[in-house]
Amino acid sequence: MLIAVVSGFVFSLAVPLLHRTVRNVTDWLVVLLPFSLFIYFSFLTQPIAAGGVLSSSHAWAPSVGVNLSFVLDGLSLLFAILISGIGALVFLYSSGYFKGHSGLGRFYAYLLIFMASMLGLVLSDNVIALFIFWELTSLSSYLLIGFDHERSSARSAARQALLVTSVGGLALLAGLLLLGEAGGSFELSQLLREREAIRSHRFYVPIVVLIMVAAFTKSAQFPFHFWLPNAMEAPAPVSTYLHSATMVKAGIYLLARLSPVLGGARIWQGTIVVVGAITMLIGACLAIKETDIKRILAYSTVSILGVLTFLLGLGTRAAVEAAVAYLFIHALYKAGLFLVAGIIDHETGIRDVTRLSGLARIMPVTALAAAVAGLSMAGLPPLFGFIGKELLYTATLQAPLANSILTAAVLLTSALLVAVAGIVSLGPFIGRTMTLSEKHGGVPLTMTAGPVVLAGLGLLIGLLPNLVAGRIVSSAVGAVLAQPAAIKLALLHGLTVQLGLSGLTFALGVTAYLRRDALRRAVSRFDLGTALGPAKGYSLTLDGMTALARLQTRILQSGHLHIYLFIILAVTVGLVGSWLVRYYGLMRLEGWADIRFYEFLTALVIVAATIVIVRASSRLFSVVALGVVGYSMGIIYIIFGAPDLAMTQFSIDTLTVILLLLVLYRLPRYARYSTTLERLRDAAIALAVGVLVTGLTLAATAVPPISQISSYFAENSYLLAKGRNVVNVILVDFRAFDTLGEITVLAVAAIGVYSLMKLRGNGSDG
């Protein structure tokens, strides 16, 4: 199975090269890969249906429990067959659709990456691997939607799709990490065993919410449904493959896959059923409103995705059965219809259904395929769609809660979808033959093959439902319910309520189709979506974020150094101050009487000199005052018995004053840049820092010093160093290396002074 997944990635690297060298063969080569995968998975239906599960595991980062482990059960197999089978048809179709396009090689590569990621997604047993493939499908779909990026709408659609799905992706990552934490493993098969522990875990609700956000964004559920219709900017093969058959169903897959682990609780069931039902109705209504054939199909897909979601939410046996069957059916007919829409767009350049008519005479084969697919969508016997509809009604009638409301909602949706089926599969082909501007040479066989095969399958399975019932549907249902299921599908069950409802649906649908223009106007009138809908919310969020960013920039990033310094100091004072206030008892507040007069005098000199530094009108004054501060510090060192430190301080200060004088001499006089208010503000922050440092000093002096190094020096200066003058001994013996370093620094600085003086002598270079 690793080969099945990886082959797509490897091949995608080679395709652009192949396309450049052996162009004609490439088209067939790329079809061959999904087709052989399709054959491979088809052969596996037998052992899987017999209850087997295939698995393989390859270590990736085993130390943290991330592995490339794959498991093929009924649910995965259903998806794998759809992905590879429809994939083969889509590749074939693309070769006709993009005939002569220079970027075809690139397109194949993106599509292959997508297919491989999608296969990886449905086969992964490790949730982190699943997440990685999930994100890769988002990325490749972004590249595919934006493939034809001449229009700006394509660009913003691609970005919207990527942003919405990557929000979901990150939610998924968070959800899966929490799930792994709650279940103690990242392997799905392991998590399934831990389901009791997970359900009672304190992370249960966050896990459910995050996973739902992920599933709903991917599968275009309300309120994230807006990205899917906008993504219709994508070329038709992409819409077919990603936006109807496979990628948008990844969210459904996730819900189905995790429902044995997470399902059952009220929050899970309730939210999914409600969201699914809302999506179903909104999708159907909005589909009626549109006139662009692809957008109509997109909204009807949204509607069906809603149906699938709410069926999975119900979680009963009948509901799951209906969901699996419907998923299969929908993939067949909707892919067919999207391909048809692509053919129409390709041949006529028109996508507006009100302007399309009478195409049946120009493209009879396409028309036939469209009609069959449309009938399946409308749910008429003897097509597969009819069986699906029967199952759907069975599920809602047997629903554990609110079954009448759900049945009514499904009835309404289905009736609207019957009308939609008429609009897209009947409308464009009947009526007055339209005149095409350019001479028409017939639709290439590569493009008609897809719709014909898909429609034919819909008919075939409708007639012989047990062709798939036992092999594919049962095992998929079994996987979702986590218990074996044997399902028989039949076209007719006799005169049941379901049959009556189907009849009613069809009657309502036909009425709706006949009065479609009136209906469209009515829906448009009540449409609040453009003003209040989530799409508006999306653009408001984007604008709001940009505005917020600008505002923050203005406040925090003014570019003025003193503002930066102000903020840094204010935060420091705030942080340290808050701790100091909390431990205010640390400060030692007695002992003021011990201060001697000359200590006080020195302090006074420092304060006075500091004021001079700030207030002086000439640089010379400031520098000299700075020197005074430095010397007074040195005096303090002497008073407290650190003569070596005082020596260093004196020499450094002398040097600093000289250097500053030499440099500052060349600068112009002080100018006053700040207003009085700003000066007050600066004074306030200076004062605050002063108070803080005073507080810290008071706190520090409260702690008795650990060691008295001066007594050590006094005792040992003669014994160890044979010197009576303690200061000398410290400087040249105990701290000889320090002194050496200081001398070196002074020497280097002296060279600097010398070069500055030489510069002054020349007086040219400024």
Binding site: L139, L170, M545, L556, I567, T572, V576, L696, A700
Partner: protein
Amino acid sequence: MELPVVDFTAVYPEVVVTLVGLLVLAVDVFLKPERKTVLAVIALLGLFLALLVTLAYYPLDEVAFSGMVAADSFSQFFKLIFILSAAFSILMSPRYLQIFNINAGEYYELIMFCTLGMMVMVAGNDLVTIYIGLELMAISIYLMAGFQRDNPRSSEASMKYFLLGSFASAILLYGMSFFYGITGKTNLEEIARYLDFTQNMLNTKLITLSLVLMTVAFAFKIAAVPFHMWTPDVYEGAPTPLTAFMSVGPKVAAFAVILRVYMTTFHTLVPDWTQLFWILSVLTMVVGNVIAVAQQNIKRMLAYSSISHAGYLLIGVISAGTATEIKINGLPATSLVSESMMSVMVYLFAYMFMNLGAFAVVIALAKAGNPRELLQDYAGLARRKPFTAMLMTILLLSLLGFPGTFGFIGKFYIFKAAITTGNVTIAVIGVIMSVVAAFYYIRVIVYMYMREPEGEILPEADFASSTMYAVITTTVFTLLFGVAPGFIIAMARYSIEQMLA
């Protein structure tokens, strides 16, 4: 009198870097201006040698120079990052220096000495060693930021960074002097022993105050909000290869020191510093990511993006801190601690590759007289330079944390560490902010692939091959370690186990 034991085996990488730095300085005097590229070659060869030496001494675990230097695999891990980032920055430089007319001699020498400073910093087993390393690094960077002397923005950047950086250094020293005043020690292990011994005494509270002071200084070095204001101005003003270098080196060095000092020395003060880092982390992620959205200049955007990465990294640090407090069945949860620390180390390694790579692309596009740093300059790049656009896309996706890239591995472990240690709130904030980040990273990709350039289309300059080597190598590693991160993870784990043992 006895001299301190000089154990050079502990500092071979530092010795190599120092000698090569001096060699560059000496050779510079004898070179004609047009042959200065030779200096880059010497520096690169020297760094390669240093890399080999560091790898050869990787399993080292000893304390040298009277306990001032810790030559352990923890420091070797970070030395690898510094050496690689210096090498990549040098690779990006020659053409940039040439087209912007920057004097090459001191340039390479300063990169070498800055690297040395960072190496000393992470090897520091003593507050004094750490401070000396930090100052050597910082002073080199102050100078480097102002290297483009004919550009007023560059001088402004240098001046701003110098003044604010001096404040940060002063605050750091102030905090350190408190430590010394209270404990009488500067050696990290001795301080740790003192703290263990005096737990719950009055002194500890005073130590908390000095801890806050030191944290402020480190927050400045990692550019955490609200100490980040210098970053965008400095990053924008400095020559771009140096911006790349200073966006990685000092940040990584500061995180390395934070991990070592806070996890091994201040482990009795965990509740205090996790609280502090929590606030800083949230502010950093929110402000960094949101402001980045508004940027039109790509260097500024990358500056804010690197600010926000510091926020994610702090999540890992917080997790490591809280992990020390977690007891499983009455025993300390050692594996949680080491996993959390590992997440930070792996993230830093990933950050080095992807951030340097992104800056290298910016450099590759620069032209004489036109640095081409605006978003608009990237419109339609995919058509003009498809290969470069593809590499940039990969690097941006990695910064975003997209699966399959090294960036994802880093983010994955960080968030996993946060969740397993119970820091769920901050992990969720991190995830939300990653969504915001998606907006501005993807915007660049949209510009490259889907926008048409406005106005006249200028032909792209010939790319200097050395810059492209840097871009390609960083991208390859971003992908390689994105798919197979086992090697880096094993190295990080090994060094943490050794340090905590």
